[in-house]
């Protein structure tokens, strides 16, 4: 039987910022519809890895293939299918929530941007503030809107960099529920987070990054959640 190409394949990926090596020989694969959760302390290289996957940063060495395409050779083939939630909101402060979503939807060539914006506002529970400028939003509301923004094109690969930051308990539960729905709809998801509990709850694969190295990578069903915290700290100390 021929080997099925995994949806995401990262091989010997290195990224250096000048003299500082932020990623060292990272290799991983993720099947279509998989949910990879990346844990790691501050400065471990999680954001850098996500930026490389998002084609925002070119790798120093190594390769990334998504759906069979090499990212460096065919970035545009893949960008249309990508959604990204980062530390920054990617929102225009002077535009309203609805205007932001309509702009990004139009950018992706969504047939009816205004309908799409309405749907997404509903999903993140911001319909009542649709016409307020983003400048007036709280941190948590901006975070919800930036997640809605990443979904305008209904991405098949969703990259999330610490999406729980700034969310209250209620919003965090809602986010988890949304991510689960996306996962059930066969979207492939890579998420970096500090939140071990929420991450383990959602993931199908779990990775630990420490000092730029992927020191641990395993399928979620082979991990005992009770023992994971200990295992996590053991790997950090060993790195």
């Amino acid at each position: 039987m021929p080997m099925v190409e995994p949806f995401l394949r990262v091989e010997r990926l290195c990224k250096a910022y000048g003299g500082l090596t932020a990623l060292k020989d990272v290799g991983l694969t993720l099947e279509a519809g998989g949910f990879l959760c990346l844990f790691g302390p501050n400065g471990a290289g999680k954001s850098t890895l996500l930026k490389v996957l998002a084609t925002l940063l070119p790798p120093t060495a190594g390769s990334v293939r998504v759906a069979g395409f090499d990212l460096e050779e065919h970035p545009e083939a893949f960008r249309a299918q990508l959604g990204l939630v980062s530390h920054q909101s990617f929102l225009y402060d002077d535009l309203s929530a609805r205007e932001n979503l309509e702009f990004y939807a139009a950018l992706y060539g969504v047939p009816d941007p205004s309908v799409r914006a309405g749907e997404l506002l509903e999903r993140v529970d911001l319909t009542h503030r649709a016409h307020s400028p983003v400048r007036e939003f709280s941190r948590g509301m901006q975070q919800r809107l930036s997640i809605a923004r990443a979904l305008v094109n209904d991405p098949s690969l969703l990259l999330l960099d610490e999406p729980y930051t700034g969310l209250d308990a209620h919003a965090a539960i809602r986010l988890s529920r949304q991510l689960r729905l996306l996962h059930e709809a066969q979207r492939t998801i890579v998420m970096a987070t500090h939140n071990l509990e929420r991450g383990l709850d959602l993931a199908t694969s779990v990775g630990i990054l420490a000092r730029g190295k992927l020191v641990f990578l395993q399928r979620r069903d082979q991990i005992d959640p009770e023992a994971f915290e200990q295992l996590y700290f053991r790997h950090l100390e060993a790195a």
């Binding site: 925002l56 940063l57 070119p58 249309a80 920054q88 990617f90 225009y92 402060d93 002077d94 139009a106």
Partner: protein
């Protein structure tokens, strides 16, 4: 989406923000008028300026005030790092360059709508304002300056002291264009025949074209992190 539609989408988004805030345009017009009033006081209120120095005054006011707007157009894109969202979308970097250059061109043109009449009110006595020639010269400088300014503001936005970097890079780069503009405008104000100005205008058009082409080609390197 086709290139023109991408450009239009970005352009309309920026103009919508500008119409709402008006911050760039007000700052540009205000600063430009201020420069001219100061120079008018310095020259002596009732003294007539000759054609060439008067042309210099006009361009100093226009170019020094424009840089305020040029910087803002890209700074806004950097505020929540929206430019990263644009870069991971299917948008072509060329469309981003063209849209930003058009926004800058528009801002400069609107600010000149205020500055040029004020200039003639303060310094116009004795000048021969051949309006079609002046409009052509303004358009050429606006093209070159907004193209170069767009490229450099993308470069400068990646540095720490971007509001200082932009003018430091932009004025030397645009010096040839500005020098030609001052000469051509001086000649036009002095009532010289069109044949004398034509060479200057052709050179200005060439510079505008070079800045626009270089900007279009280099822009994707300027906005991307390495």
């Amino acid at each position: 989406m086709t290139l023109p539609r991408q450009i239009l989408l970005l352009y309309r988004k920026d103009l919508r923000v500008e119409v709402r805030k008006k911050e760039s345009l007000i700052a540009m017009a205000f600063f430009g008028v201020l420069i001219m009033v100061i120079l008018n006081l310095a020259a002596g209120l009732d003294r007539r300026l000759q054609a060439e120095p008067a042309a210099g005054v006009l361009w100093v006011a226009i170019l020094f005030s424009s840089v305020l707007g040029l910087g803002r157009v890209f700074a806004r894109e950097k505020e929540n790092n929206c430019v990263a969202a644009l870069l991971v979308s299917p948008l072509s970097p060329g469309a981003l360059f063209a849209a930003k250059a058009l926004v800058n061109f528009t801002l400069m043109s609107f600010s000149e709508l205020v500055l040029v009449p004020v200039f003639f009110a303060l310094f116009g006595a004795g000048l021969q304002p051949g309006l079609p020639v002046l409009l052509l010269l303004l358009a050429l400088v606006n093209i070159g300056f907004s193209a170069a300014g767009t490229l450099l503001s993308a470069l400068a936005a990646g540095t720490r002291r971007n509001e200082v970097m932009l003018p430091i890079l932009l004025y030397p780069l645009c010096l040839p264009l500005v020098a030609l503009a001052v000469k051509a405008t001086g000649a036009a104000f002095g009532g010289r025949p069109m044949t004398e100005i034509r060479d200057l205008i052709e050179s200005m058009a060439a510079f505008g074209l070079i800045y626009a082409a270089a900007g279009y080609l280099l822009f994707s390197h300027a906005v991307r992190e390495a």
